[in-house]
Symmetry: C2
Subunit: 468 residues, 2 copies
């Protein structure tokens, strides 16, 4: 039985040489597209197209079979009809290829004959050292070295490099499906383990625990292959970096639906819930939380306590934030006397938490300065551990004013803060949000997740301090 310590997963993410099996039809074949993606993305290793019908593609020699390649091959990417896959994998194993991503579908995911076909792959991995990812996967995306196994066209180089690893057992999480560029998620690696005939979430969690380029891990799962190993891997990872787990197929019907597209089985959801919590990981329950909570860990230091300051352009939104804060395990910060005096000096109604900036801003000739003074005063208070800020964005003041304010605030004080912008034009809200992300301040498309993110940060901080 293979060790699942993650040490043998490097050929998937950082191969020196890659063989690609698939159609090399000009501009259309998935093998062709993948090779073009890899070249465009800036991969610096060696590439070997394998297809007996071609002698050349994109200026490279094509090989009739993997056995014809003289050099060592770290990774094979297989995108051929399912019945051809076992023999290709067999040949790869014989040649000593270290790892294979099987993109091809219609294995356990299709039921019937596909289940038998997948079993043939399992048999090969038990008799060789080769690791297999998939089938029914698009494999990996590595923003750090410009490598991917995704055979769909997309501007992969436009994804922002960063320290969050997003993993899944479905392709919907990968770059060609999500607004990664528009939202400016800072990404290290992404991975879809598909049908998990060999490589599964345990390998991946262990690999990412040791990956120096990854500081936060978010994983989407429908099932877990081995509960005890999963617990151990989760515990190991959460001990060194924040781990967010989106476990779907929570309901019995969801588990049945999952089984029909990945061939997986159901377990009582409460078991997952307890296991995830006990390990110090954080469970998220929606796509929005899955995508948007990790970045609060990527940008910010862990807070020292749970005392939140709420600063809003709207009194009503301040109340909603207060509810969300209480429901996320935060406490409403009680400002120091010095802070209260300073705030009261700026405007009598500011000396409270949540702060409704609306009325004072409408009374001053210099609202931008007053706003910055208030936010800085509050963040600078020792009784405040973190802040959530709600700002209206309109055409009256340029976006650059807001960005410059946060730039100055970030330089003066380094406490976690999340921001929710609202306004009449979605394009404006998105533009200011994207710019602020690049500055390292997490922004949210809904107010409640902006507060939940701080709650997650506080919970992990307490876990790391041995308080939870």
């Amino acid at each position: 039985m293979k060790s699942r310590d993650g040490n043998d997963l490097w050929p998937f993410f950082e191969p020196h040489s890659v063989a690609v099996f698939g159609s090399l039809k000009d501009g259309m074949g998935l093998g062709y597209v993948l090779i073009k993606n890899i070249l465009d993305f800036g991969f610096s290793g060696r590439l070997y197209p394998v297809n007996p019908s071609y002698s050349e593609v994109l200026g490279m020699k094509a090989y009739p079979a993997v056995t014809e390649i003289a050099d060592a091959v770290d990774l094979a990417v297989v995108i051929t009809p399912p019945h051809t896959v076992p023999s290709i994998i067999e040949q790869c194993a014989e040649k000593g290829v270290k790892a294979a991503v099987i993109v091809s579908e219609n294995f356990a995911d299709a039921g019937g004959e596909g289940v038998k076909l997948q079993q043939q792959l399992v048999d090969i991995t038990t008799h060789s050292a080769m690791r297999i990812m998939g089938p029914n996967t698009v494999g990996v995306f590595n923003a750090c070295n410009g490598f991917t196994t995704i055979p769909y066209p997309f501007g992969y180089d436009r994804v922002r490099k960063g320290c969050i690893a997003y993993c899944s057992q479905t392709g919907v999480v990968l770059p060609e499906c999500q607004p990664l560029e528009d939202r400016a998620y800072p990404i290290s690696k992404m991975c879809d383990v598909g049908n998990k005939c060999d490589v599964n979430e345990v390998d991946l969690l262990n690999y990412l625990a040791d990956d120096s380029e990854t500081k936060v891990v978010a994983i989407h799962l429908e099932d877990v292959k081995d509960g005890r190993s999963f617990m151990n891997a989760t515990r190991r990872l959460a001990a060194c970096k924040p781990l967010l787990v989106f476990k779907s197929a929570r309901s019995e019907a969801g588990a049945r639906a999952s089984a029909s597209h990945t061939g997986s089985l159901a377990v009582n959801d409460r078991i997952y819930d307890n296991a995830i919590r006990q390990a110090g990981a954080i469970r998220v329950n929606t796509w929005q939380e899955f995508w948007d909570i990790p970045k609060v860990f990527a940008y910010h230091p862990l807070p020292l306590g749970n005392r939140v300051a709420i600063i809003s352009h709207s009194g009503g939104a301040g109340v909603v934030a207060t509810d969300a804060a209480m429901e996320s395990g935060l406490a409403i910060a009680k400002y120091s006397d010095a802070t209260l005096a300073k705030l009261a000096g700026l405007s009598p109604r500011l000396a409270r938490n949540p702060i409704d900036l609306g009325p004072p801003l409408s009374l001053t000739d210099d609202p931008m300065t007053l706003q910055e003074d208030v936010i800085f005063t509050v963040l600078n208070d020792d009784n405040v551990d973190c802040a959530t800020i709600v700002l209206y964005v309109g055409t009256m003041a340029p976006i650059s004013y807001i960005i410059e304010m946060f730039d100055r605030l970030q330089k003066r004080v380094s406490k976690p803060m999340t921001v929710w912008f609202y306004g009449t034009k979605l394009s404006l809200v998105e533009e200011v949000s994207q710019q602020l992300e690049w500055l390292g301040v997490p922004t949210y498309t809904d107010q409640e997740t902006a507060v939940k993110a701080l709650g997650a940060l506080v919970r992990y901080s307490r876990f790391k301090s041995g308080l939870e």
Copy 2:
């Protein structure tokens, strides 16, 4: 004591003559801006600017006092410094003005002297027939007749006319703060009751229950002035049209925060929860639900049962939708034998629920036709009451293909469906969503709310049938 049956609220929404008290400074004064808003928005009644410092504004005669206006005045809108408000209101009452919106702030919302000032207003209303909305409110917005009391510049005529009334006790819900145009919400009326010195949620609910232009009501509340009247009004409204209630200030800290900006008091949240449910209204708990769930009622007939079909471009998203469906009181529809046979004929892996369109679409030369056939076949099944659909939107196929497909589907079958689009470009996702809204298909920015909306529809349907 005044009746709160809503019969005397018409002067707020449909006045024939309006007096505006406030600064008439050219282009800047809030009275000036309001008068311009009303003129631009297409109001056909009479307008009387009132300000002793001006003799004319925007080509209209300005009056030194309300008593100088010869005609009857239905509505006064007051945007003057707080200490001047009681005497203005007193004069209006004496003249027989039917209603007043007090936009001015710094009454109970500010505490201290403001509380006494607000009490003076309460005293006036108890001795006259005049109704007061506010203070600390922007008042009303009526898309049906082009009237508003909001003194901030905005293209009010760009808001889509429709049948949803959104009400609140905070200005954040009004047109000048929300992307009403981009999201194409179909709106009849909007209203912010502010500090509720007189007109409150009970008047409003009763008024909207009888309003023929409103078919769905969404109300945001932080507190309730009189529990029993609120229960009665809620029950009366929910008996004739769907009512969604976003009750914030759920937590004690939230209620304290609410008290500080509206002068309201806290009640145990569970009481609200029970009251709302028993009345047949639907409680929503986030801004996103508040804005996006009502439209499913505006566009669709009530479903006959709770059996949902899930059709998705992604197997993983299908599982998430299944979880959300189970958690929203829906049942996963079991297709008829005829439907299963038809689906299997289209592609073997389609004969299931949720349907993962991904693999079959990648195998056909005509994915748009296959997709439409699948959706129509499923919606046409008598065992299906509603559907949630998840579609990838990219640059490969024009948006018009998607819109035309839904246009044909809507003409062939009239069951409720909600749609969640995902893709790499937010602008594309928003464009297709907006176009589909105009077609009368509700779209969602997150998958879970798309499913919850169907759950709300089913719950109200069961309530109306006497099942809940």
